[in-house]
Amino acid sequence: MTEIDDLEFRYDHDGFGLCISSLRIPAGESVALVGPSGCGKTTLLNLLVGIAVPNEGNIRFEGRELTRLNDAARRAFRISTAGMVFQEFELLTYLNVEENILLPFLLNSSLRLTYETKKNVSELAESLGLGTLLKRSIDQLSHGERQRVAIARALITNPALLLADEPTGNLDAATRDQIVDLLFEQAAVKQSTLFMATHDHSLIDRFDRVIDFSCPGESGIQLLRNEPAHPVPDVEP
């Protein structure tokens, strides 16, 4: 269960922020965050994994209160519990496909790189259609293949929380559908809670829940634009 209570977050530089009085997402659910660019979708994703820290309020994941964790503990939470897929893939071009998938293990000594892990990489790559591409350079891959590598990287740690920030923004319709199918399929296999930020309204029917940032009153989220926060009532699913 992901729980947010009385959360208020505001950027220092422009005063923009979010205010969420209450949000409860059960484990394994899929949530679409929709709305125009700059409306706060990425901010919410960052808050959910501890990249951004709220000014007030609480975020709990499976009972762990993120807001009470220090920086190191939040990083440990991210690497062990969350997997992130980015719009621009954010792959390291100097690593091959296999090494990109293993990046969380290469960056964090708390994750042990074992034979089992390598086997998992092969299986995961196989399931994502990357089985024959493991030793390829990133430069040699198509857009769709790159995004699949990014998804594999997010899934390799078996995260309970899968976050995708506009993962289909740069893809054509066919590839977009493939990628979304894959995300749902893998989230279901790993029983992960999926949060996906998107401005593509054609996808929202597939999600268990939609938080529309363009209708803040309905979603229980208030956008702060250099104004005092006015918490909105609780929203139950």
Binding site: I79, L92, L95, L103, L106, L107, N108, S109, L113
Partner: protein, 394 residues
Amino acid sequence: MNGTFLLARRHLWHHRWRSAVLVACLTLTILLPIGLRIFAAGFESRLTTRAKSTPLVVGAAGSEFDLALHSLYFRTQPSRDTTISEANRISNSGLAQAIPLFVRFKAEDSPIVGTTADYLSFRNLRVAKGRTWKRLGDCLIGSNVATRLHLVPGDGLMTEPEDVFDLEGSLPLKMQVSGVLAESSSPDDNAVYVDMDTAWIIAGIGHGHASSKKLSDSDGTTDGADLSESDTFVNDPLIAPYTEITAENASSFHFHGDRNSFPVTAILAIPHDEESETLLMGRYLADDDPAQIIRPLEVIDELREIVIRIRQFLEATFVAMTCVTMALLGLFIVLSVQLRQRDFATMFRIGCNRFVVLRLVGCELLILFVLSGLVAAFVIFGLAVAIPSFSFPL
């Protein structure tokens, strides 16, 4: 750490040309000062070792440096020669053993050293192949000369004229290699040794030709080994002198003039004891003496002082160069980190420690420095093995 090392390795390999340029710059920065130090240490050591083993040198008055370098390394040419009578004078004084040297000509770029058999025993030079010189025209060659010219005992070796444009100068003489000296890791390995008579024949003071007739011999024949100042010859100027000394023509070789006035370029003087050394030095104190005596070690020490000053100057230059290289490397790292901000942002979002960036850059620098150190060591080792004279240019 293994993961960071892999990332560093992969990043450097991905930008391999950039990395190669950095390694080349760092290698030069490491190689030049260390190479200079090794080079200078070897240079100074060998310079003094050779000088230490040579107590005194006598030669014509002039530059002390020229005389020292000439007698120790067969390098520079003294402005004037002295005579063999000077060597006889030293020997007859009973104060020192005199070993004459006449080094003016070359054979295939190697100096031809005219001397006596005493020189070989003085320098502990051993004949590794063949035998020492016995006949006029025989030569012993240093090990490097034998290797470089692929010569073995029995082969011929031509001398080079002193000046190819001097039509009245001496003609080239074909010498016969009688033996090859064992390697001594000294300038002796690069020289060709002949006895004094052969050296003077090369210089044109003695020669032989078909129509030579020794008037003092009743039967008209002579033996080259029995040449004396009193012998008189008549020559046919239309017949060219021999350019090779063989068993058949050796008897026709003869010298002109007073043998006491025959030139030597330097005389190694080995005093019997300290008192003899002091007494011998005292004999050359007069300002108008046409000869001079030097202690090579003192002269070489002066030379070493100059080498040390040059080395200090170069070291200061290298320190400045190292500072500039390090500053540029620092700038390069800062720019590289800025260019990689997006990569690092991704790493942070995934959950990596902020120190990973430091570790990553540190690892990359470590790899670059280790690689540069290895390349520098390899180059120094390679140069020392491939070019033995790298540590000893004299």
